[in-house]
């Protein structure tokens, strides 16, 4: 054909072309071998005498073969491992499959080229238009070269990636300015994310977590108990979160799946599924493998699933009713019941803690319910009502360990976990303590009134002054107790409660309900000075209350003495007015009276100073609290006219 060709080529071009066909398949040819030193590159045998340009051209084409080899060996390696122990994940499998598909295109091209080469070799008379030459081959391989380059980049970067991370990496590469590249990588991405979408759809429709290779962005903690199902068992696995799935979306998907499980397992509604039509609609969106569609589809599923769950909680398990019950019993909303209970249970609780009998208290509880408006309460609520006695330490009495308790079963126990209930109990104990002091103060007032009615003005002026002193101190205490209680009940609890109601109304799923309740409890506890960091403050409050009890005891004694004294004076008066009596008795008691009075007055003024010192200390500490913003009204109320501040 070519007069000059034989001089230039020791090997005919057609031979080289045939060799190149093998090289394109990643196999060494007759003349083109893998280079010994530079491994991984095809080099034309140096003994073949060809012009440099031809040699370069061959090397250039051989690069395609080299790249192909790389991609091919990657997929083979990965897929071979499928059977082995360290199997690659579903998404990596899809990735390999997608690569294989790309390679199929390449095989077709090589087959066509090979056909041309063979035809040319056999039939001499091929028309020049159909002839194949190195230059033509070069043109043919431009496109596969680019494509394989991209694939090899993907292979290089993604080789050790897994699940969601792989998708993230591919997603980044798919964002490319060259439309061909982005469609190629985008196509692969679509195929790779298919298993992910399948997992998402199983998860949100069935609550099934089918993830043999830990690739999904929801993780299951097998050790979590049924109660912790909602809070702990399922978690987001952040490293597996594809970049196009936002944190919010992931959270939403997590919640949908949890809700499905919650409905089926905890609420016992095993048969429940979304209606067919909505599943189909959502599934259609899913099948398009588009992040935006994912967003839309899950939104709808989220709404339906969670509204069903909330409905169940409300209608079947009466969540609101129980919350209300909690408020009325543990947060002292049911006043008549508590007052009655306080009266009944008082003697029992005055005993040392180890002699308080649970069954006695349960009986008292029962009668308190019967004797108050609580008897008309929903029996379901009353059933939950219980008594809990904490483990006491020596020296504590019944008051320190007693609290009401409220026990609910599944599925509401997800909401009212042990931790949550402990918080309620803590608040109850604080209120209870205050209530006790208040009732003691009130009953002391009764005694006081009795005594002061017995007093005759001109004669018992000294006693009147003493009584007034008592009255003043006790009044200060009542002021504190009333206002503190006001703060707890109105400023804190009612405000927090109305916030809770608002957020419950807005809540779309159980997470939001839990969050709302947590916020409620947090506010309740911190503003009631019961927080963990506020231990010192509440210690002061306790000290103050204990002091009040001590003072009340002291006062009881005083009143007893006064009562005796008045009886004595009455007697004496009667004697003096000639009604008869024992004269020497009066003289003895007369001297006694003076002594008692002096001591008592000293003790009283001591109590007053001590009380004020404690209170001032308390006020100072409250002012320095972190959440002083919310407590400023408390201080304002407790020290309205700066009576304590100025001293």
């Amino acid at each position: 054909q070519k007069e000059f060709a034989p001089k230039m080529f020791s090997v005919a071009e057609i031979e080289l072309l045939q060799d190149l066909m093998y090289v394109l398949q990643g196999i060494e040819g007759k003349y083109i071998k893998m280079h010994v030193e530079q491994e991984d590159s095809f080099v034309l045998d140096s003994k073949v005498s060809v012009p440099q340009a031809t040699r370069d051209m061959i090397h250039s084409i051989a690069e395609v073969g080299w790249l192909y080899r790389k991609v091919k060996s990657f997929t083979e390696n990965k897929l071979r491992r499928r059977a082995g122990l360290k199997a690659c994940g579903l998404m990596m499998q899809s990735f390999c499959a997608a690569l294989q598909e790309e390679l199929n295109e390449y095989y077709r091209l090589v087959a066509v080229l090979d056909g041309q080469v063979n035809a040319q070799k056999k039939a001499v008379g091929v028309s020049p238009q159909d002839m194949i030459s190195l230059r033509r081959l070069l043109v043919w391989t431009v496109e596969p070269l680019e494509r394989l380059k991209i694939l090899s980049i993907l292979v290089d970067t993604c080789s050790e990636m897994h699940g969601g991370a792989l998708i993230t990496a591919l997603h980044r590469y798919a964002h490319h300015g060259d439309p061909q590249v982005s469609s190629c990588v985008g196509g692969i991405l679509k195929k790779v994310s298919q298993p992910l979408y399948r997992m998402v759809s199983r998860w949100i429709f069935e609550g099934d977590l089918e993830d043999p290779f830990d690739e999904f962005f929801v993780r299951q903690d097998v050790d979590a108990s049924a109660e912790e199902m909602w809070t702990l068992r399922y978690q987001i696995r952040p490293q597996m979160l594809p970049s196009f799935v936002s944190k919010e979306l992931a959270q939403r998907i997590l919640i949908i799946g949890k809700s499905v499980i919650f409905i089926r397992e905890s609420c016992g509604d095993r048969e429940w599924v979304l209606d067919e039509k909505s599943i189909r609609e959502a599934q259609e969106q899913f099948d398009q493998l588009d992040p935006i569609k994912l967003e839309i589809a899950t939104k709808e599923v989220d709404r339906m699933t969670n509204s069903h769950m909330l409905e169940l909680l409300q209608e079947k398990y009466h969540m609101s009713m129980h919350l209300d019950g909690l408020k009325r019993y543990l947060l002292l909303g049911q006043g008549d019941f508590l007052q009655y209970l306080l009266e009944l249970v008082g003697p029992e609780l005055d005993r040392p803690h180890d002699r308080v009998m649970r069954h006695n208290i349960l009986g008292i509880l029962e009668s308190a319910i019967r004797g108050s408006n609580s008897q008309f309460d929903n029996p379901e609520v009353l059933e939950c009502l219980d008594v809990s006695l904490a483990k006491g330490t020596p020296g504590e009495d019944g008051w320190d360990i007693f609290s009401l308790d409220y026990r609910v079963g599944m599925p509401l126990s997800t909401l009212f976990t042990k931790e949550v209930m402990n918080k309620y109990l803590r608040v109850f104990r604080a209120h209870w303590r205050l209530k006790r002091v208040e009732s003691r103060l009130n009953s002391m007032w009764k005694i006081h009134m009795n005594v002061s009615h017995a007093v005759k003005t001109p004669r018992d002026d000294d006693i009147v002054r003493l009584l007034q002193e008592c009255y003043m101190i006790r009044h200060e205490m009542t002021h504190f107790v009333t206002n503190f209680q006001y703060h707890l009940m109105f400023e804190v609890m009612e405000c927090a409660w109305s916030e809770l109601q608002d957020s419950l109304e807005k809540a779309q799923n159980l997470d939001e309900i839990i969050a709302a309740q947590n916020a409620f409890l947090k506010r309740l506890i911190e503003d009631s000075l019961l927080g963990e960091e506020q231990e010192k403050v509440y210690e002061k409050v306790r000290k103050l209350l204990l002091f009040m009890l001590k003072f009340l005891e002291q006062q009881e004694n005083i009143f007893r003495d006064i009562h005796q004294e008045i009886t004595r004076r009455n007697m004496q008066e009667r004697v003096e007015s000639g009604a008869g009596g024992v004269p020497e008795w009066s003289s003895v008691s007369g001297s006694q009276k003076m002594e008692v009075s002096k001591e008592v007055v000293d003790a009283l003024s001591g109590s007053r100073t001590e009380y004020r010192a404690i209170l001032q200390n308390l006020l100072k500490i409250i002012r320095s609290q972190k959440n002083a913003e919310n407590l400023k009204y408390l201080v304002f109320r407790l020290d309205f006219n700066e009576h304590y501040g100025e001293q």
Binding site: Q1, K2, F4, K7, M8, S41, V43, L44, S46, V48, S49, V50, P51, Q52, A53, T54, R55, D56, M57, H59, S60, E63, W66, L67, P128, Q129, M131, S133, R135, R136, L138, V139, V142, E143, E146, K149, S152, R172, Y173, H175, H176, G177, D178, P179, Q180, V181, A628, E629, K632, Y633, F636
Partner: protein, 696 residues
Amino acid sequence: SKGRSSSYPTIGSDAAAPSMKDFPSHVQEVVVVEELLNELLGFEGQMVEATEKLVPKAGSKAGGSGFPVSFKFQEGLDQSVSDLVERILPLGAYFRRVHWFVHDRFDYGYGLVNHAFTAVLRELMKDYMIFVAQLETMFREKKLSLHKLWFFVQPALKTMELLDSVVKDVVSKEGEGRGGALLNILLRWNGQLRGDPVARDVMGHLLTRASVPYFSMLEKWIYEGIIEDPYDEFMIREDDGIEKGLSAADIGDLYWRKRYSCRREQFPVFLEKVSEKVLTTGKFLNVVRECGRPIDCPVASSLSYTTNDREYVEKIDEAFGFASSLLLRLFMDDMCLMQRLESLKHYFMLEHGDFVFHFMDSADEELQKPVRDISLSKLESLLELSVRTSISVSDPYKESLTCVLLKEPLRQQLPKIFATGSSAIPELKKTSLDPLALSGLEAFSLEQKVEWPISLVLNRTVMTRYQIIFRHLFYCKYVERQLCSTWAGQQSLKEYSAHSLLLNVFSLRRKMLHFLQNYEYYMMVEVIEPNWHRFEAKIENVKTIEEVMSCLSDFLDNCLKACLLTNTFLINRLYKILHVCSDFSRSMTTFYRSFSVRESSSSGGIVDLDSRGSGKDSPVARAAHSEYMSAHIKTALSDSNFKKIVVRKEADFHENIMGLLKSLNEHAHSTAGDTHLDHLCTRLDYNLYYKNTLLS
């Protein structure tokens, strides 16, 4: 990946290095054409030698020690053949350079525009390679002579030369060859070659394709408010460091101004005219997005390169219109901006003034103290109490009202603010004044907590102006209240026949009250209200949120100006008067109080309500007491010290008010159009009393 470079072993090349001289001339041509075909595809032939080598930058993908781009044919060719060859040879060089460029920019890091640009270059190169392959076919059919080759390569030569020079230009512009800047380079070439139809077509093709990623970023920004720019190519930069804060005072403003900024160098020239619009469009949408509202732009259409800049401008205008109306609706309807402003007016402009009086009554004692002794929380609770017991209890924003104690008195703050030209909060310079020693009255101001995104509109600048107005009004009201209590003090002396002695005191107080009440009336009725109505009317017709902001700022500026707060000279005069009034009423109050003490001491012992009533019952005792008190008062009033005080205050007052009136008059005449000042003058000097005094 391996580049095609000369670093491959060259063992085979020396095996056959024939010399041209060995061939007869007809064979010579064939050999030359074959060599040229290799050369055109960028493969180094045996008979050429490189004259210029391209050394790649360190670290670039092409690697190697550099490769030749220009060639010279071996010696020994016929001169005529040689000349023709020399003409064709550059084509290979062009191809090499473009090829090298495409190869070099394969890296992802060069950005999307580069990706698109190299993609289109690659396509052109592929066409070129097919063309060369066709030439080869002709050559094999022995139909390709050197002359024919020269004829056929003509169009390719032109195109490749152009590509080559563009590529050279891009490479030479270090650091600019990406994103919008790359587009600008292409645009410049396009502009220079407009006369050449082939070049124009090629450049048009390049631009259309290369700009696709840029336009899709632009679409995302102006239709959705999202920046999707992984390689920092877009003309707008997002600064993630600036978060939308809720509590920090300045953040609203800062967010608006700094969160998004322009990258000047990445601005394509055809968008330069509308750059601000593009920036604000996205910013608006972004705010809407951050508030969790969906954005579905109805005017969204795909943008692509066109030679007619008008088209972009129109589309961007449409997008801008949509975005601004969306944001305006968000602010006006969802965020209730107008109600907000009304609430601000209630408090800061004393429209609901009753709470101020409640507050002054309850917090007077606290406000008199120096700042270091004031408990802010107490002030806050007093304020809350006064608001809750006033008409404002129905105001939905009363919860966000608090108070602050600022570090400088109004008079010192004002000149600083207006001296800097802008009313942004000036740096707090070290003043000789100890901020803790200020009286509460001077430091007190209201403060409204504003949450995001309303804080974008009611930013610090705006709030500062509101505070200035409030502090001013508050102080005026306070002084007025002092004067009124002076009046009340005087009433207690009514029954003692000291009236004639107190006449000058009465009249001075009257003058002061007249001044204050009229000035206040002027501010409230003639300045704030009409301006507010104008503002409301303007707000009805606004189209964008920026207009709202400028209207608001106009409103506040007008108020400040008309309340004389922008003129340092006038404000100094004004405050002197206020101080005189305040001093006067304070000394009078002390004076009266000394009597009431004396009065109670004269009736002997501690007087409680009952005994006082019974004691005064008898007319005789009453008369005697009255006589006694009158005598006392008369002596006190005729005391030279007291007289001196009154006279001095009167002189001070007169001097200052006349000074004020004079400069007001001058001001009113010098600045035409400020009719409000005329009104104020007339009000303050209704019957020309001061003017006549001034003249005499």
